[in-house]
Symmetry: C2
Subunit: 463 residues, 2 copies
Amino acid sequence: MAKKSSSPAVATRRRKAPPRLRSRPMLVRVGLLGLGTVGGGVAEILARHGKLIAERSGVELRLVRACVRHLGKQRDRAAARVPLTSEPSAVIAASDVDIVCELMGGIKPAQALIEAALAHGKPVVTANKAVLAHDGPRLFELAARHGTDIYFEAAVAGGLPIIRTLREGLAADRVNRIMGILNGTTNFILSRMEVGLPYLDALREAQTLGFAEADPTLDVSGRDAADKLAILLQLAFGLAVRPERLSTTGITELSPDNLRDAAELGYRIKLLAIGERAAKAGGVHASVRPCFVPARHPLSTVPGADNCVAVESDALGLTLYQGKGAGGLPTGSAVVSDLIEAARNWRAGIKGRGAAQLNRAGVRLLAPELARSSYYVRVLAADRPGVLASIARVLGEHGVSLATVLQRERSAKRAQPVPVVMLTHAASEGAMRNVMRALAKLPALHKRPQVLRILEEAPKSGD
Amino acid sequence: MAKKSSSPAVATRRRKAPPRLRSRPMLVRVGLLGLGTVGGGVAEILARHGKLIAERSGVELRLVRACVRHLGKQRDRAAARVPLTSEPSAVIAASDVDIVCELMGGIKPAQALIEAALAHGKPVVTANKAVLAHDGPRLFELAARHGTDIYFEAAVAGGLPIIRTLREGLAADRVNRIMGILNGTTNFILSRMEVGLPYLDALREAQTLGFAEADPTLDVSGRDAADKLAILLQLAFGLAVRPERLSTTGITELSPDNLRDAAELGYRIKLLAIGERAAKAGGVHASVRPCFVPARHPLSTVPGADNCVAVESDALGLTLYQGKGAGGLPTGSAVVSDLIEAARNWRAGIKGRGAAQLNRAGVRLLAPELARSSYYVRVLAADRPGVLASIARVLGEHGVSLATVLQRERSAKRAQPVPVVMLTHAASEGAMRNVMRALAKLPALHKRPQVLRILEEAPKSGD
């Protein structure tokens, strides 16, 4: 299209540097609630890049005050220069604070403080996934009622612009499925189990490297991912649902055997948060669980503690966003871009946009039993004739048919149980639950059977 | 964090559906220049999702008029319902057009029309990569001068929100390297050559499937990717450079042999557009060329005609965006999200933000000779003793050392030339050019040596 010959005049004009149209940046005063890892990251980014931000966005962000629990605590570099208070109202109600930035985490007292700030008509920027997951819709509504807005890019996968993309980039599109690796700790643990480490060893390594908390329950139980999924469901489908209602399975029951089975069959195991529109049923299926992901699917290659969100939508097809999910700088960077947007909207008088997210009727969470997929099943069975046939019969009685059977090792001694690995064709979750109950009653089976969902390449048509 | 027991009151309050705070959406009238594939996609998206967009964004977008070359041409579905004109001023100057959306493509007459619309103070949304690549900085400045703005998410990788991300998500970050697969046609052709198809057969297949134009020159020469890279360089580094100045190599010289070599050595070949900050040298290296990409790098697995952009930045580390780069719906979707943003900013009086992108001094394009990387070199040499030694000597004389040598086949007949494949350690592009010139003079070498850059995992430190 661009022919070199067509624009000599333009080339000449361009020789001089583009003129600088720099108007004075507008000052916007930010009050912080909390000055921990993320707050420190925000302070550091503003100290390092404040001038660049002012040039690019026309906004000068100034941290005027931070409310902290321990006034005397030693703080690093940029954070040490922020004036401190121990009184939340000195941030929320202060006339010299234009935007409130909540970075305390947890529900109490963070949620009440966010509500108070919104009630003062102040825009709130937060990284608080728990509050957003549990009460996002009510906060959107509260913000709209007081003519202000709430921003939360940092609440889900800090390093990825997934909230902004769902709110803006996909504003003109219809999301059919969203799938995420939303917890870096579990992704790291699974990647270590792939090379043969038992679960507990991999967890200990993650703790040593600082990826996992001393109490890793929220991560490994899948509940952290469920909180984030609840937020994504609000934006992607207009579905308001508390994370406790989402079918959630963690990674604590997995063993290296499962990961070896996956590799042998051309899959990898990832803890996936999935929300999927089931148009016929008029609702959305949503769950957090370890899944078999085909090795050729881009979600299967997400490394280490990274996060990744895959969105399938009408207009765009499959889109992927991958990067760091946590850490002071990635999360701080997401907070700062929210602060810039909040500042610009605040000065321009744009308000109350958040509430519009949920103005869509008729979307509901479907019962998990209705979800359909194919499954990986692993049982430990007595090594004698007829056992495989009896297992296959149980599946057949519940309408579940087998795609692949893998009987990996035959025991040297006849009496030892052997693992039997099966991949099924598509079946309903309800049917699979019945199969599991029936299998558990077979005398030839040792231990409880293990079942994992297999991720399909594309949404099932017409479901 | 979220304890179920801590919020029974909240849970009760949440039982009723969130209240609907629906205010009347604001009507924003859009005039189109061009109603081809992308324009048709825009019309279709607005017809299909207009109500949803109004609910979510508070903006009702109405296509009031489209300027087309052929008034009598048959048009599909939604496009057929847009009132037509053949007079550009009936769009640009019309008092009932609030936003001008340019979707004609090419520089003439699109650029003059964009300038006229900006001079009228109207926001412009465009998918025109050629105009933005060649004159983006001047258009930003023109927009700012007339108190308006220009939006161009659709100009680069339509299905990915890369422009929005660089403008907003990374507004508080510092980009060190940006690498993109920005041309779907060449990515498709390379993926077919990987299974052994010669270049021309793969090109013909791409044409049959509609991925490649009848005249594929812009794609296969790398010039389409160079246009897009020029736009990304403006946003990522504040570097204003015309695409003709970017070192650009296409895929026309590649053979299945090169792709086989890559596979054997643990790489894949991708046409990469790369911009990389070289802090010490005070500038940016930028080029479009086929590269060896390590098989474990996420850019190596981008399939078919997809696009992918990888950004390495201070705060976020490596972030990836992957999806469809072209097509009426992906590109149309990007245009519509720009229309929504333009409409909201226009009504709120936010203006002239674009010009700020370039308010950064001192960034310049560095001479390609200074860039350093390791290289893949393939020569066809006479199969006799001492030839490899003479090749190695030439490299050594120019300070280039070898990491790997692969002498794949020995010919049955001694007289036949054999391929010699080498991977070098890091060397400057200038040294490699000298090596190539010297190698071409060796009598034992048949044909011109082939050289491809090898992508490093991370930016070279201190460069």
